[in-house]
Symmetry: C2
């Protein structure tokens, strides 16, 4: 439940902290910038919503031209389907009796698509679809170098053939994910690595087409390399997600998107002139991609996060302008996991609260 | 909402994953072990509930003899007060108009106590208490070496005097937190550091008593050093929290408590005989205190966590017994932040689901 003292139009600086703010003009600019690229290249954008987990943002992306969305988990897809979204890819293997049942429930109310990389899973999906009287879409996931999930390229044709033969599944094509190179800060290294991975996926597409199998969809990539994958004829769609809100880690890649996501935080203690303590720690933002920069305060550096405290030090000399009660903004290192800590996003325009959005996919790991 | 296919008594291995399991006999043993220590030493235990955030566990701790509880945030205290818990310390400064209003609402329905380290905050609390017609308890927080919050020892008497003079507040004493040494793995180093910090707090107590001020409560410490603080005459209570469920980081300290918390996870992919991929990643458990050990599987090592994938490798040679759909258990590196990712804890006894507990304080960072 949001605080009953909150109202649309209230000044940003009166929202209780710590709280996740969305700079609405920056979000809109990011969405339109990428939509323009996809219009120009004639490719489909299927935004990955694991990052924002927020139906309201998915709707903005669809309104701007995205053809469908991507989710990581069945629970996320359920949250998006509850908001009326129809074309959903779960870019992940769905394993286990109960989860497959839920997937088939989803197939009865939206046009779900799921990744497979194992013949037994394919059989389980086919049997569950038959039992439920549905016919979901499947993509064969190819290991294009990430070595996490996906069949080896040499085994793609065999699994694709089995998928095509499964009576209760609609085989639609292939997907891959180059997660090990997609966020490399060195652009040449990133571009080279991603190019090599996408080539593997496009080669796999050629293999299954040579075997007489269709490939309506060939899906890959994200915010760090969308411009590479859209340059390949064989790629039909891209799963970019972080571009909408961005974070400090993707910000370092200088991709031309604005940081639209910050944690508004209150100074709670000043143990010394060189130290500032705030009320946002590990339970408000995540550290795995680095401590958060402080927006518009190059004189301050976050050097540690306790569970409920951000610990800042001055870069040079004492800081005299901050007292307990003053506000600062952190730019999260990793937006995807940071948003997953929060129940709501607070969208701000012109210094005032413009909308409160439910992060309906928050915590939906199952 | 929990899955409608779940029921008390169902086999543990049929609970959908990833899911946080509590080994109920281990939890009970931990609670009783520490309760026995506090009975024997005649000190009060005020368990910190920031770790489990779960009223059902707080009630077990109170039933075993704890005299009250500790929270980190107003929102956590609200969740605990909603469950009927009365004696609550917020071991943190509460800063900001809206949060102080909520604190005074709490004071009207439970016996709340809060930390202060700044004269302006003391004035704000006093004024808000007067406006609301309540009289909450306050402890002056002393910086005993952690350098995060708290007044310097030399300034304690002045702030304690101001707290005692505040007409609408009940000054009850002091608190401190030795967070920089409490989890050192080297026992001699940890014991020495904690002893020094607790001595500073006890010295501060002597200072305010010499100035004619009362000190009914002197509160500090946690799971890593409770046995040190209870050896001091001047300490009245301890804020230990992690002992109840434990985690891999505290497990390395060999404190005699059992690991009662695991993440049940399903194998989702086997990219090679040396690799195992599971469905629990950074959105199911946190990495800041190290990757999670795999319970009862010394042959497997977690070497990376993606957002929704645990990535394991074999320690020596191929692993042949695991297929997609098989179950493993991770022992979280950091229980406090891991539990904060989940809406529910699944308590298990004798291989069957014994209770589903709401993590009512989850996400209550405000």
């Amino acid at each position: 439940m949001s605080d009953t003292h909150e109202y649309i139009g209230m000044p940003r600086d009166e929202i209780d902290t710590p709280v996740l703010l969305v700079d609405l003009p920056a979000l809109e600019a990011n969405i339109h910038k990428l939509a323009d690229h996809f219009r120009a290249t004639g490719k489909n954008l299927r935004p990955h919503t694991k990052s924002h987990k927020t139906p309201a943002i998915a709707q903005l992306q669809l309104a701007a031209g995205a053809q469908g969305i991507t989710c990581a988990k069945v629970g996320e897809a359920e949250a998006m389907a509850d908001a009326g979204i129809q074309d959903i890819l779960i870019a992940n293997e769905v394993i286990g009796r109960r989860k497959i049942e839920r997937l088939m429930d989803l197939a009865s109310r939206c046009d779900i698509m799921v990744a497979v990389d194992h013949p037994q899973n394919l059989q389980d999906l086919d049997a569950a679809a038959a039992a439920r009287g549905v016919r979901p879409r499947v993509l064969v996931e190819v290991n294009i170098g990430h070595n996490r999930c996906g069949v080896q390229p040499a085994a793609v044709v065999e699994l694709a053939r089995a998928a095509q033969a499964a009576e209760n599944l609609r085989f639609c094509g292939l997907m891959g994910y180059e997660g090990h190179v997609i966020d490399l800060e060195d652009k040449d290294e990133r571009d080279g690595g991603c190019h090599q991975c996408i080539q593997r996926l496009v080669d796999a597409r050629a293999d299954i087409e040579a075997a007489g199998l269709p490939c309506q969809i060939c899906s890959a990539s994200g915010t760090g390399d969308y411009y590479i994958s859209t340059s390949f004829d064989g790629i039909t769609e891209v799963q970019a997600g972080s571009y909408a809100l961005m974070d400090a880690a993707y910000g370092r890649l200088n991709l031309g998107f604005d940081n639209a996501l910050t944690v508004l935080t209150t100074v709670t203690s000043r143990p010394s002139p060189e130290q500032v303590i705030t009320d946002a720690g590990l339970k408000s933002l995540t550290p795995e991609h680095g401590f958060p920069p402080v927006k518009n305060r190059p004189d301050l550096e976050c050097h540690a996060l306790s569970e409920e405290h951000g610990r800042l030090k001055t870069v040079a000399g004492p800081c005299t302008d901050l007292q307990p009660g003053d506000l600062l903004e952190f730019i999260p290192g990793h937006g995807c996991t940071t948003i997953n800590l929060h129940d709501r996003l607070y969208a701000v325009r012109d210094g005032r609260l413009a909308a409160i959005w439910e992060v309906a996919g928050r915590g939906k790991v199952r």
